[in-house]
């Protein structure tokens, strides 16, 4: 009964999405207040019914209703409650419902927070978000219904993929989707602006906090995915340039360029067409990512179940939404040229370069991700693009970007007098280089150029970020949340760079065949395989090893990696033993019984790896602070006064 109600609620939500689109866009075109009000109500209604539908599916999972095909395919009676709920978004159909819920939520937020927005404009924004909702709900109802019944009901489910039975990966999709879907808001604002042919930059001010919030979620989602891959996939890698990963990273790069571009458009009314294009691009890349991982068109070790029929639907949807937006852009953007000028060392200049470099990196990653597809379509062979290429291609634009970041932060708008901070920046640069050499020499006895450069750039960005608030405090200038957010986020970038340089330069990964009592040594640490025992969990059995880690004869820790066999389906899973420290991670994973009493063991020494995720968290936190800046929460007139005051400083 409840699944049928869930299905029914989804249908009602779909109808309300249609109403939302019609009343929103139509009401704006007709300047009809009643229609516009109806659009707002439709948004509330849509959210309620999508939430009801989602609730029904969750209930089916919690109650172990194996008469629902989706539940039977992704759950099991022994699955703990937390994972029964997480299983709701564990596969294709449910994750689409999650997408739809996120979209309904963001739309509701926009409606609630934008009452002072010009009504027809608001109507258009709501209408466009409605069109996107229609697409996803129609997709579900037509091809991917989560509520299909299984008759007769299965006596037992096929269980949730053991890989997903993990806290980080369970919460990863909702956070990631909040990010992806949040970019739809910027997209809708951009399209509405293009439709109206607005010449002012008010839309930039409106869009910025929403975009920052979405970007923040996406940052956390990607970091979470990377962290999960590191400890759960058992092999210690933290980024693989896998198409599914790239599908989330590309919108992030576009989003980063977007938030910076929005800053310029908001403050100076410049880069309008760039910002609009980036807003369209960020969400388009989110949609593209959805297409790539669900259509079977790309080969990836972690793509969803493949189905080209669904792929065709998404492609059509993609064509309409993105194609439509880009046509709109081609038609309207030429009108929006701005005429203000700026100096070469002004902040605008730096942000322009920042955007160019980010877009360059994004384009290269897009090329590498799609190249196998082109080759296959042209029947030129089946290829994948190796990680080394991506590493190089990403590095090349990023090195100058990091350098310029440190300077650009201090550049003033329009005129860009760097004289006042110049001396301090030189000192910071000097300290950064010295620091990099010291770390390389003392901590790692390695002064390779690329490593030293990496450390130097990381320290440079961190020091330069700290200079900013110090200078302001000394001058007794205000330190609004937006500025603090920027500082924290940029510092986070430096910290992450620090971690990446460390781990990529100095990591050691080696496989060994060890018997109980034998030891191996990497990175200056000794790993002794001291014991092996059987273990048992709620839904698995397995073996656990004791690996005693010591350095210079002193005990450091005891790692306890496990090899599990899940009861349902007999899937083996590796649980790595990881020891976290301020300067390094120590990692051990258990392989197989090799015979003669030996087991294969993978040992890893991962210096500074935690700083990557710590840095990412700071980046996200910085975004949050910036989004919560008071000036976005003030009514329009006071906001304009604040903006001009901030620009003058």
């Amino acid at each position: 009964m409840i699944p049928e109600l869930g299905h029914f609620a989804l249908i009602v939500a779909f109808l309300l999405s249609v109403a939302q689109a019609v009343f929103g866009l139509g009401g704006a075109a007709r300047r009809d207040g009643a229609w516009l009000a109806a659009a707002g109500s439709a948004v509330v209604g849509q959210f309620v019914f999508v939430a009801l539908s989602f609730g029904a599916l969750t209930w089916a999972f919690v109650e172990r209703d194996f008469s629902v095909l989706y539940v039977a395919t992704n759950s099991h009676s022994e699955l703990p409650l937390f994972y029964r709920v997480a299983a709701v978004w564990g596969a294709h159909e449910g994750s689409l419902l999650l997408w739809s819920l996120c979209l309904a939520g963001w739309t509701l937020g926009v409606v609630a927070a934008s009452r002072s927005l010009d009504a027809p404009f608001r109507g258009r924004v709501i209408g466009i978000l409605g069109i996107i909702s229609i697409g996803f709900q129609l997709f579900m109802l037509a091809t991917s219904n989560p509520f299909t019944r299984l008759v007769p009901a299965a006596p037992e489910g096929l269980d949730l993929n053991p890989l997903l039975q993990d806290f980080a990966l369970a919460v990863h999709p909702p956070i990631l989707y909040l990010g992806y879907v949040g970019f739809a808001v910027a997209f809708a604002f951009a399209c509405a602006t293009l439709i109206e042919g607005r010449l002012d930059a008010a839309w930039a001010r409106w869009t910025r906090p929403w975009t920052l919030a979405a970007w923040m979620f996406l940052t956390i989602g990607i970091a979470l995915g990377s962290w999960w891959a590191y400890y759960e996939l058992g092999w210690g890698g933290w980024w693989f340039w896998d198409p599914v990963e790239n599908a989330s990273f590309m919108p992030w790069l576009a989003g980063t360029a977007l938030i910076h571009s929005l800053a310029v458009t908001e403050k100076r009314g410049l880069f309008k067409s760039w910002t609009l294009l980036l807003a369209v691009a960020a969400f388009s890349l989110s949609l593209l990512g959805t297409f790539l991982v669900r259509s079977g068109i790309l080969i990836s070790v972690h793509a969803f179940a493949t189905d080209p029929a669904r792929g065709a639907f998404i492609l059509a949807f993609l064509g309409i939404v993105i194609g439509g937006a880009l046509v709109l852009y081609a038609w309207r953007a030429p009108r929006l040229a701005s005429s203000a000028s700026f100096e070469p060392t002004s902040r605008e200049s730096f942000l322009l370069l920042n955007n160019a470099l980010l877009v360059a990196a994004l384009s290269l990653i897009l090329l590498g991700t799609l190249y196998p597809l082109f080759m296959d379509a042209l029947e030129l062979g089946k290829v994948t693009v190796g990680a080394p290429w991506f590493n190089l291609m990403f590095l090349v634009p990023m090195l100058p970007l990091l350098l310029l970041l440190g300077i650009g932060m201090h550049a003033a708008w329009k005129r860009g007098h760097l004289l006042t901070v110049r001396s301090r920046l030189w000192i910071a640069a000097g300290c950064a280089i010295a620091g990099a050499l010291l770390i390389g020499a003392l901590a790692y006895a390695d002064l390779r150029p690329i490593t030293t450069l990496g450390f130097a750039l990381a320290l440079w960005v961190m020091l330069s970020s700290l200079l900013m608030p110090l200078a302001r405090l000394r001058a007794r200038q205000p330190l609004p949340a937006a500025v603090v957010g920027m500082v924290v986020a940029h510092f986070g970038v430096g910290l992450a760079t620090f971690g990446i340089t460390g781990v990529q330069s100095f990591k050691v990964e080696k496989d060994f065949a060890l018997a109980v009592g034998e030891a191996a040594s990497i990175g200056g640490y000794d790993f002794r395989f001291s014991a092996l025992r059987d273990v048992r969990g709620a839904n698995f059995t397995g073996v656990e090893a004791d690996i005693l880690v010591s350095r210079d004869g002193e005990k450091v820790t005891m790692l306890q990696p496990q090899k599990r066999l899940y009861n349902s389906g007999g899937n083996p899973m590796t649980e790595a033993g990881i020891e976290v420290g301020p300067t390094r991670d120590l990692f051990a994973a258990l392989g197989d019984n090799l015979g003669e009493g030996r087991w294969s063991v993978r040992l890893q020494y991962k210096p500074l790896i935690r700083y990557i995720w710590l840095g990412a968290i700071l980046v996200a936190f910085g975004g949050l602070l910036a989004a919560l800046d008071r000036r976005y929460r003030l009514p329009a007139r006071a906001r304009d006064a604040q903006t001009s005051a901030a620009t003058a400083s």
Binding site: R149, S284, G311, G323, L373, D376, L378
Partner: protein, 179 residues
Amino acid sequence: MKLPLRFLVPVLAFAVLVAFFVIGLKRDPGQIPSPLIGKPAPAFALESLGDPNWIVGPADFAGRPWLLNVWGSWCVGCRQEHDALMAIAGQNRVPIMGLNLWDERERALRWLADLGNPYVSVAYDPDGRTSIDWGVYGAPETFLVDASGTVVKKHIGPITLQVWQAEFLPLLAAGAQAP
């Protein structure tokens, strides 16, 4: 109205991309549409593989959904999908009839004896005439016929449990609800 070329670049680039995606999607061999979908299953009455006196055909399954799996002992993919077929047969949801194609009785029977027999009956089609009626152009291929005798699905290439769950079961469930 001026339209500088650079503003057209994004939409043109996107159009090219979509074109590649369309080509890419079409190339999936498992999804080449069959003209038989939605039509009544072609009738046949063939000797069964093991016993020439036993005649088998779609009429055996009138009123219930069933699977037709086209295979041969020479067929590499058939060997690969065999485990999945055995699992599907073990679920006892739908009977599977084999259509043994371009094969010799001895070899086919030995193949089944070695690997296991997921079929309730196997039709012997050594010259492929019946398979032509079904639009078969290779093996393995699997057809789902619903209770009214209409072909509702064709899968080209080895079948997996994934495909069974994602593509066949929903059709069976939908069919079970229809009058």
